[in-house]
């Protein structure tokens, strides 16, 4: 069989050169010719179509494929989705950039955008936006801002994420609107149940302190992100408020790894309030015992002053970005436009329970009628981006470390603020040098 193929290959080449194919040859090798024809027909056709490479992260990367047949039907562009686990996403994306193997577009946690922009991996989307179905006005301003570095847009929000207050309605009848009301509510809970706590604030997370600081309009870093601004009175006041909650016994100084089961603790009334994100709406429904039905609700974050309500929370979620090295940027942009359509946003919400980024999607059934989501809808109008520097995650680690040290009485609030500034300045030293160098050129 193989031998025959090799001979016939030889004959085929000869036949081509002569421009003639003998009929005898044809008959003898009809099977081979058929296979050859089949092979040709298979390889030629896709060449007319564009093939996009799209990296999706975690569960989103898994389910996005279900939206894509519609896109291919409309545009003729085919999309290869490669699913990257969240735990390995950061290194895969960076390594792909260094190895010149980036996909055409990818989903990216919006806190990573400054970093990938700093290395020059991302393509500017500002020009494309001028003439597109995607309009900045359709998005929550705080979320949109996470995609903007130095007035250039590098990502389009895909789904959004923020933190709100989850509370037990039987223990906290009226959700607090100001920090004073909040403390009063905690006091009330603690008085009724002296052996429990009013709120769960895990000491190994930086998010809670940071949200309080954002609510008090602290900038965390200076304007160009080259030095810490933790001694700023706005940050110090928020930090003091956080520490006071522990000092007055309203919260227990535990890491979330020490809390065996948050849902059980919440159901037992170990704590009555919890600051967390949209994924826990589904988890609370699934994991709380049936008697907790209707006994919990969500509320936007309390603000330092009544006039500020709702208090700021942080702008999280994922965006879609196009890589600078892509040769199919137009097609990639079409896919982003498609995934940003309100109808697709709603379908995506149904598949993932991730909150839609597009405001129109929030008006549609399913999203609009879900009571726990109303607080998120309200909160999303009041979210602020975290400092947009690549070093942020490193700086944030210090926030909870010093936060825990202060809660446990190893530092005063002032000492912690000074320490945070010192550490942030140290981490940002390279950034200061690079920026100074760029200005010098």
């Amino acid at each position: 069989m193989n031998e025959e193929f090799r001979i016939s290959n030889e004959e085929l080449r000869k036949g081509r050169r002569q421009g003639i194919l003998h009929s005898k040859f044809f008959i003898r090798n009809s099977k081979f010719i058929f296979l050859l024809a089949l092979a040709f027909s298979c390889t030629i056709r896709p060449a007319h179509q564009e093939h996009l490479k799209f990296w999706g992260l975690g569960h989103e990367g898994e389910v996005v494929a279900q939206l894509l047949p519609e896109f291919t039907r409309r545009t003729g562009i085919r999309v290869d989705v490669q699913q990257i686990p969240w735990t390995a996403a950061h290194e895969k994306l960076l390594t792909a950039f260094v190895g010149d193997a980036t996909p055409d577009l990818a989903q990216m946690g919006n806190t990573w955008i400054p970093e990938f922009n700093a290395v020059g991996a991302l393509d500017s989307l500002s020009l494309r936006l001028a003439n597109s179905s995607i309009r900045e006005g359709d998005y929550f301003p705080g979320i949109w801002a996470t995609n903007v570095v130095d007035s250039v847009v590098y990502g389009i929000p895909w789904y959004v994420d923020t933190r709100v207050l989850f509370y037990r309605t039987d223990l906290v009848p009226n959700p607090p609107r100001t920090w004073d009301e909040w403390l009063a509510a905690m006091k009330h809970v603690k008085e009724r149940r002296p052996n429990s706590y009013a709120i769960l604030l895990p000491t190994n997370q930086w998010e809670e302190v940071t949200i309080l600081a954002l609510a008090n309009h602290a900038s965390l870093l200076n304007a160009d992100g080259t030095e810490g601004a933790f001694r700023d009175p706005r940050f110090v006041a928020a930090f003091r408020f956080f520490v006071d909650i522990f000092r007055r016994g309203f919260a227990q100084a535990v890491a979330n790894t020490q809390v065996a089961n948050v849902y059980q603790g919440f159901a037992q009334g170990d704590f009555a309030m919890y600051i967390t994100g949209p994924w826990n709406v589904g988890e609370f429904r699934k994991r709380l015992p049936p008697e907790m039905n209707g006994k919990w609700a969500t509320a936007p974050m309390p603000a330092p002053r009544a006039s500020d309500w709702p208090g700021m929370s942080m702008a999280g979620g994922s965006s879609l970005v196009i890589f600078r090295a892509s040769k199919k940027k137009d097609a990639a942009w079409k896919l982003i436009e498609f995934l940003s359509e309100p109808a697709q946003q709603v379908r995506f919400y149904e598949l993932t329970q991730d909150l839609p980024a597009h405001r129109e999607a929030w008006k549609m059934r399913g999203v609009a009628n879900d009571p726990p989501l109303a607080a998120f809808r309200q909160q999303l109008e009041h979210v602020a981006p975290l400092p947009r520097v690549p070093e942020w995650e490193q700086i944030a680690t210090n926030i909870y470390q010093d936060g825990e040290a202060t809660v446990r009485g190893r530092m005063t609030v002032e000492q912690a603020a000074a320490d945070l500034d010192r550490k942030a300045d140290h981490i940002l030293a390279k950034r200061r040098w690079v920026l100074a160098r760029m200005r010098g050129q």
Partner: protein, 290 residues
Amino acid sequence: MNERRAAILFLAPALAVILLFFLIPVGASLLLSLTDFDIYALADIHNIRVIAFRNYSELLRNALFWKALVNTLYFTVVGGPMTVVVALAAALLVNAKVARWKPLFRTVYFAPVVTTIVAVAIVWKYLYHPRYGLLNRGLELIGIAPIDWLGDPKWAMPAIILLAVWKNFGYTMIIFVAALQGIPEELYEAARIDGANTLQQFRHVTLPMLGPTFVFVGIITAIGYLQLFPEPYVMTRGGPVYSTLSVVMLMYEQGFKWWNMGYAAAVAFILFLFIGAATLLQLRVQRRNV
């Protein structure tokens, strides 16, 4: 002269390979560890500065590095001897005169060594599952409360050690089997004539004859275990609360996750020194005993 040239010629391929794949990369990473190569350097190569030993001094002040070092030593000091003891026991069993189907058992015990860690990890994650895992079911039978093997900072490292011992003892076992087969039968005969029982034969014939093998196995195991990486990477990602973070894992995170290549190279060099020191120490101690 001709002889010398021939010798060099014969050595040349090996030397070239060592130069190309060992000395040059090691030299390059030493130089790298003296710079502040980070993600800014990816944007522009001129963003690299030579900072001499600042990576090293910062590393020594980094609490996470010490945590990783303690974890790695914990793993090596507990897991290493455990592997050697289990391997020796298995080798004695496999090599015993009364044992049947020796090749089968040798293969079975050796199989984990050649199985990929990712496949192994999936199975072991089931075994360690706090509610449905076989291990906790077993503990339940003898009345021990379930353990959250991979979720509890106290138990995560023992869980990793158990997995590593199971995965690696087969290799050491094969070396022991070879060494056991090299012990002349006459020695045992002489011992038996002198009235030695099985235990005394093991104590006074087998163990001393295995001396050099212990040195070799000890060093190889220590070198391997100090470079702990795949087990925590696939099982726990260094968690919970850094309880299974190893030195190599810290290097990987710094190097490939955050792209602090200079810093990561410094981690690599400190580990290199550690392994060198551990090897020398073992050679000293064990040579004296043998």
